[in-house]
């Protein structure tokens, strides 16, 4: 498929993807849309939600739709890095000599579900760092490339915090989005129960292969963004820093650490995909505003005062957007 064909068919393909996922996952439209955006833009996603809201089902469905290999790692406190990356084992070769052979871990897949990632020790969590950013795995001094596309989808439970290890900032920053998976409403739950009574297995069909996904990523990156819109996106990110000259007033009061430069890259890459998915060939301010929440909410570290005042990161982002819009756009 040529680039021009991909531009013309981009919206159609994404609609098919959403249609297929909707066969397995009821509701959660915003979460599904953002996961697909992250996959096309080449980012990882951290899903936060209580157990049983369909996180694993969603990932399995995604792997079917994109016809990509999928592996699941259940993170527990005794999980070791080698259990994730793989390790060199002594095996007999064809001549009967003992040799080291690398046994690939579950990370060597295209879609990796890191379930309850905050239950593993920081040492094991850090085994994902290199893979998530550089898409390589280094074991015993030898780096191995992960096959493309590579996508980590981690989950964590926001309620049970006993025996967990909160993800360090460096790891958090490697997730393009943090998505909040809400409980389904009554209608959605009705549909879910009805659907799963027939069969628990996923029924989504593959509509996009590996090559198509990579082509979609390349096409989306070409979408133009006006300088004013780019400046706006940068200002939104910088406004999260309490010590920046662009700092929003709420950041000065409640933010300890603001979003990294990676957040600006993520927001723009994702906005381009979102624009193309909407049938537009340019990024709009609204794209930036909508994506600011999933991109920034896990990158902002609040101070004690914010926690005491029960301020959430989404509250801070909302006020930042209002302030930056007024400052940059004058409305």
């Amino acid at each position: 498929m040529t680039n021009e064909q991909m531009i013309n068919e981009f919206g159609e393909i994404t609609n098919k993807i959403f249609g297929e996922i909707a066969r397995d996952v009821i509701g959660q439209k915003s979460v599904v849309e953002n996961i697909v955006i992250a996959m096309i833009a080449g980012g990882n996603v951290l899903l936060e939600g209580v157990p049983g809201v369909g996180k694993t089902r969603l990932v399995r469905s995604l792997s079917r739709v994109f016809t990509l290999p999928f592996s699941r790692i259940q993170f527990t406190p005794d999980l070791m890095p080698a259990d994730v990356t793989g390790t060199s084992m002594i095996v007999k070769d064809s001549k009967g000599n003992s040799v080291f052979e690398f046994q690939k871990g579950p990370i060597f897949s295209n879609i990796v579900l890191a379930d309850e990632i905050n239950r593993a020790t920081p040492k094991t969590q850090s085994a994902l760092l290199e893979a998530m950013q550089e898409h390589t795995v280094t074991v015993l001094g030898l780096s191995r490339k992960l096959s493309q596309p590579f996508f980590v989808l981690a989950t964590q439970n926001p309620i049970e915090q006993d025996g967990t290890y909160p993800l360090p900032e460096a790891q958090m920053d490697r997730f393009m989005f943090k998505l909040l998976v809400e409980n389904p409403n009554a209608d959605e739950l009705f549909e879910i129960v009805k659907l799963t009574q027939k069969s628990m297995s996923e029924s989504a069909l593959g509509v996009c292969d590996k090559e198509k996904l990579l082509q979609m990523r390349a096409t989306a990156s070409e979408i133009p963004i006006a300088d004013d819109v780019l400046k706006y996106a940068i200002n939104v990110c910088l406004a999260t820093h309490s010590d920046s000259e662009c700092a929003a007033s709420i950041s000065k009061k409640y933010v300890r650490v603001g979003a990294s430069p990676r957040s600006a890259q993520s927001i723009v890459s994702a906005a381009k995909v979102k624009a193309l998915m909407s049938g537009r060939f340019n990024v709009s301010y609204d794209d930036i505003n909508q994506l600011a929440y999933p991109v920034l909410r896990h990158r902002i570290k609040m101070n004690f005062e914010a926690i005491a005042d029960r301020i959430t990161t989404d509250d801070i982002i909302r006020k930042i957007i209002i302030e930056v819009e007024k400052k940059i756009r004058g409305n």
Partner: protein, 328 residues
């Protein structure tokens, strides 16, 4: 290459009108401020040329409007694109402008998409937007400047007079006004009056005695009847009379008749001192001499002169005949 500007032209006239209006309003604030400053300066300098103020205002207004329009409010292609995008075009127009010289396939598609959306938009959807703050500010300044110029003009013209300041603790002060007569006449009416500051006195009248004529008051007032208005200081005024004995002053008889009080002093020949109704005539003129005594003395002197055959001037003889009747 497509000329994308032609697609924006339909929004041009409204945005130009908006730019002009904004410039007029902003320039108005400067102009009205200039008018106020000029009016105050003229008022302080007491220069009765208040017409300078509106002229300054108009000149500043015109100049500032031109400067503001070309420096800030003239719509540019970018500002026009931003305004059109606000109509729900999702930054299509501003991106199209940036990609104007880009020939890539995606730029072409973007352009086509943007033009399609622009064509759907009715130019009437663009509303002229003016800042409430600047409208209120300009209106208030206009009102202040008009009022100030009007009042200043009337004041400098003399139409409005500023009353002397009344010191609070002097508001209830009473001023003593005293009217006295010198030798040769009396003052009738209330000669000692206590008047509230700024008030008016009752009228008094200076009446000359026989052989005298009223000349003036010590404050050079020539009218024998007088009253004071807007009294702000205490006064002690004396009526001056001229003795007619030396004959150097002619006496207008009619005037005397006219100035005669309703109840003239009794003529000698009647019963001097019996005129009880002429209370004022009995008063002490200079503190030592009683008017009754003066008349008596005058009467006795001329009676003696005539009896002893001394010379009596024609003038004196006439007055004697007139006031005292035939002596011989």
């Amino acid at each position: 290459m497509i000329d994308i500007r032609k697609y924006l032209n339909k929004f041009n006239s409204k945005l130009i009108a908006e730019g002009v209006l904004r410039s007029v309003l902003v320039a108005g604030t400067v102009a009205f401020t200039a008018m106020i400053i000029t009016a105050i300066a003229l008022l302080i300098a007491s220069v009765n040329m208040i017409w300078i103020s509106p002229i300054v205002g108009v000149v500043v207004w015109v100049l500032c409007t031109i400067v503001a329009y070309f420096a800030k409010y003239k719509p540019t292609m970018t500002s026009m694109a931003e305004r059109i995008d606000l109509l729900g075009l999702e930054e299509r127009v501003i991106t199209m402008l940036e990609l104007e010289n880009n020939d890539s396939y995606i730029a072409k598609r973007q352009r086509e998409d943007a033009i399609r959306e622009i064509e759907k938009v009715n130019s009437s959807k663009i509303k002229i937007v003016l800042s409430k703050g600047i409208v209120i500010c300009t209106s208030v300044l206009l009102l202040i400047s008009v009022c100030l110029i009007t009042v200043s003009g009337l004041y400098l013209n003399g139409t409005i007079k500023v009353p002397p300041p009344i010191i609070e603790n002097e508001k209830n002060l009473y001023m003593d006004i005293s009217y006295n007569a010198s030798k040769g006449g009396v003052v009738i009416g209330k000669v000692n009056q206590s008047i509230k500051r700024g008030g008016e006195t009752e009228q008094v009248e200076a009446i000359a005695a026989e052989g005298f004529i009223f000349i003036k008051w010590t404050d050079d007032n020539l009218s024998n009847k007088r009253s004071e208005s807007n009294v702000i200081v205490a006064m002690d005024i004396v009526a001056l009379f001229m003795n007619l004995e030396d004959g150097s002053i002619s006496i207008d008889k009619d005037n005397i008749e006219d100035e005669k009080p309703e109840n003239p002093p009794p003529a000698i020949g009647g019963q001097p001192g019996s005129g009880g109704q002429y209370e004022n005539f009995d008063q002490v003129i200079d503190g030592t001499i009683d008017y009754k005594d003066v008349l008596e003395e005058f009467y006795q002197k001329y009676k003696k002169d005539i009896e002893e055959g001394r010379y009596v001037s024609e003038e004196a003889r006439r007055i004697i005949e007139l006031y005292f009747g035939a002596i011989e």
